[in-house]
């Protein structure tokens, strides 16, 4: 990326310190995920029954859980699961939504059929769709990604479809078509490059909502296997000890809120620098 382009992308963040803070929290999360084994003071799986449910202190900054596992270490390691699920859902949503959306907009007859199918999928509320899929596929990390991703595939497709329709109507695209530009060339030169910024916005929002969706699945016991450290799993376990060990509730929850909030802030800042004609394609739900 050239220096000018970098400045252009950073501009919305500089103007808004809170968005910059969001970006900072995200980078910290990525850092925590990447270096989890070195950052964690203890093994996140190590059970130590004598010190079970120890409140936060010098030895265990975030306290310990019902098996005596170190909450701080588990919280740090959970960042990996959060990023895995988030990026998995984003990749799934984009990998399915972009081709379907672009092709539907360029080929109206195909588009009519495909968009009707998207409408049908949209009749299923996102969480219900995810739950139904989990029943069919059995709970696992990969299936959680698929189940949540399916719900955001539909919104992504809708957005890509709307954007491509607008782009197709642009004079320069019309001109290229009238001069006999092939579809592949059109997509590669005119459509996809213009979709990058709006898709980055969509990706941040999907990433944020995927965090909340994954946490819900984990909490219901239908997401990642319970022994794997994830913020949702930690909250599910903390439920039983809510009055005896409130710290178990606090830290993982704060992390979910911090990442989701940061992603929303970043998405919002990016959306504000979008072309105004594209901005209206994003509804309030992202």
């Amino acid at each position: 990326m050239s220096r000018d382009a970098a400045i252009l992308w950073l501009k919305p963040f500089v103007a808004r310190p809170i968005a910059l803070a969001g970006l900072g929290i995200l980078l910290a999360t990525v850092f925590a995920a990447a270096f989890a084994p070195w950052l964690s003071p203890y093994d996140p799986y190590a059970i130590d029954p004598p010190i079970r449910l120890t409140p936060p202190g010098l030895a265990h900054w975030f306290g310990t859980d019902q098996f005596g596992r170190d909450t701080l270490s588990r919280t740090i390691h959970s960042a990996r699961m959060a990023l895995l699920i988030g990026s998995g859902v984003v990749v799934f949503a984009l990998a399915t939504g972009v081709p379907i959306g672009v092709l539907s907009a360029l080929f109206p007859r195909l588009g009519h059929v495909l968009m009707r199918m998207v409408d049908v999928l949209m009749a299923f509320p996102t969480l219900l769709l995810a739950l139904g899929l989990i029943v069919i596929l059995a709970p696992s990390v990969a299936n959680a990604i698929l189940a949540i991703g399916l719900g955001y595939m539909t919104t992504t497709t809708r957005i890509v479809y709307g954007l491509t329709l607008r782009l197709r109507a642009e004079t320069y695209v019309e001109a290229a078509r009238s001069m006999g530009a092939g579809t592949t060339w059109l997509i590669g030169r005119h459509i996809l490059p213009n979709l990058i910024s709006p898709l980055l916005v969509q990706a941040s929002f999907v990433f944020a909502f995927a965090q909340l969706g994954a946490a819900s699945l984990d909490f219901l016991g239908l997401g990642a296997p319970p022994e794997i450290p994830s913020w949702g799993n930690m909250l599910a376990e903390s439920r039983t000890f809510i009055t005896r060990a409130p710290w178990l509730l606090f830290f993982p929850g704060m992390m979910i809120v911090a990442t989701a909030f940061s992603l929303n802030l970043v998405g919002d800042a990016l959306r504000d620098r979008l072309d105004p004609r594209f901005r209206q394609v994003f509804g309030e739900k992202g």
Binding site: I18, R116, M117, D119, V120, A123, F124, P125, L127, L128, L131, G132, I134, V135, I136, A138, A208, L212, A215, S216, F219, L220, G221, L222, L235, S238, R239, I242, T243, P246, L249, G253, I256, V257, A260, F261, L263, N264, L265, D268, E284, K285
Partner: protein
């Protein structure tokens, strides 16, 4: 208007039909033969064949779909394996809780989201607006079950103001039982109020940039009268329609909240049925929620158009 209504109803029917195929297919793609699920591992081959024939599972899949659809249209959604009762009555048992919970949530959403969104829009660009919008985004980023657990911790465990779980019917214990729904509805309201707040603010700002608002100001009308007579009414049209969608979505969004508060609603029924592998119930709930969701969408869309005088001509 009538031709539009007919067309819109037609689309809804087609969508519903397509959705029904997916929902029908659900029971055939879940792991395990439904017969084994129904009879358990100990059934003899004869018993299996007999039941297979009785349920029509030896018929071609199209025939099965048509007969399933016929039963659905008669209100027969199958039998729950766990409860040994008709699925529809199992769902009906949870409906009271779910509907009351959704209604109470919408009341919070309306009294929190709309006025604060209005204030943010009227004070557009000030620190108050930025603070309120930021708070809304924060609220939308908090998992409902986390809010729920904290509400239980503070208002049930520590202060003891509200019960922490369960819900005895108001038809048996009177309206006082609504207090069981206060905490769950608040938890559920948080992210939805945030969305409505942002929507109210955004649509009021959209409307206030309209030329006709400038005309109103040029007339010499006081600012708050401009808001009341020209901005609010037009902006709330969009907000009210979002209310319909939110209500419909709440019926399924409540899954996690109902689990946290152990409420006997449709949401918890889904989760428990998943854990019990009670597939007919899951299928029935999905069907009912999709039907309700699409119908509410249809009604909202049509009434939205009824309220807009521009539609008269079409």
């Amino acid at each position: 208007m009538w031709s539009y209504a007919l067309k819109r109803a037609g689309t809804t029917a087609v969508t519903l039909l397509a959705a029904s195929v997916i929902i029908f297919a659900f029971i055939h793609v879940v792991p395990g033969d439904p017969i084994y699920v129904l009879l358990g591992d100990t059934a003899t081959p004869d018993q299996i064949d007999a039941l297979r024939h009785q349920l029509g599972l030896d018929q071609p899949i199209i025939v099965q779909y048509v007969s399933w659809m016929g039963h659905v249209l008669e209100g027969d959604l199958g039998r729950s394996i766990f409860f040994q009762a008709p699925v529809l009555s199992v769902i009906a048992d949870g409906a009271e809780t779910s509907i009351l919970l959704a209604t109470m949530t919408m009341i919070w959403v309306a009294i929190i989201g709309v006025p604060i969104g209005m204030i943010a829009a009227v004070r557009h660009g000030t620190w108050l607006d930025q603070g309120l919008s930021g708070a809304a985004m924060l609220m939308a980023s908090i998992p409902t079950f986390w809010v729920g657990l904290y509400l239980i911790l503070i208002f049930a465990a520590w202060l003891g103001w509200f019960p922490s779980s369960g819900y005895p019917s108001v038809f048996e214990g009177g309206a006082v039982n609504l207090r069981y729904l206060v905490l769950p509805s608040l938890a559920l309201a948080a992210p939805n109020a945030a969305l409505i707040l942002r929507l109210t603010r955004a649509s009021m700002l959209d409307v206030s940039r309209e030329d006709y608002v400038r005309t109103a100001r040029a007339k010499g009308i006081r600012p708050w009268q401009v808001v009341r007579r020209h901005i609010l009414r037009n902006a709330l049209l969009a907000v009210v329609s979002a209310f319909g969608f939110t209500f419909a979505a709440l019926l399924s969004e409540a899954v996690v909240t109902e689990t946290v508060f152990a409420l006997p609603g449709i949401g918890r029924l889904v989760v428990q049925s998943i854990l019990r592998r009670d597939y007919p119930v899951i299928q029935g709930v999905i069907l009912v929620i999709v039907v309700v969701y699409l119908l509410i969408n249809l009604i909202v869309d049509l009434s939205y158009r009824l309220l807009d005088p521009r539609v008269e001509l079409q």
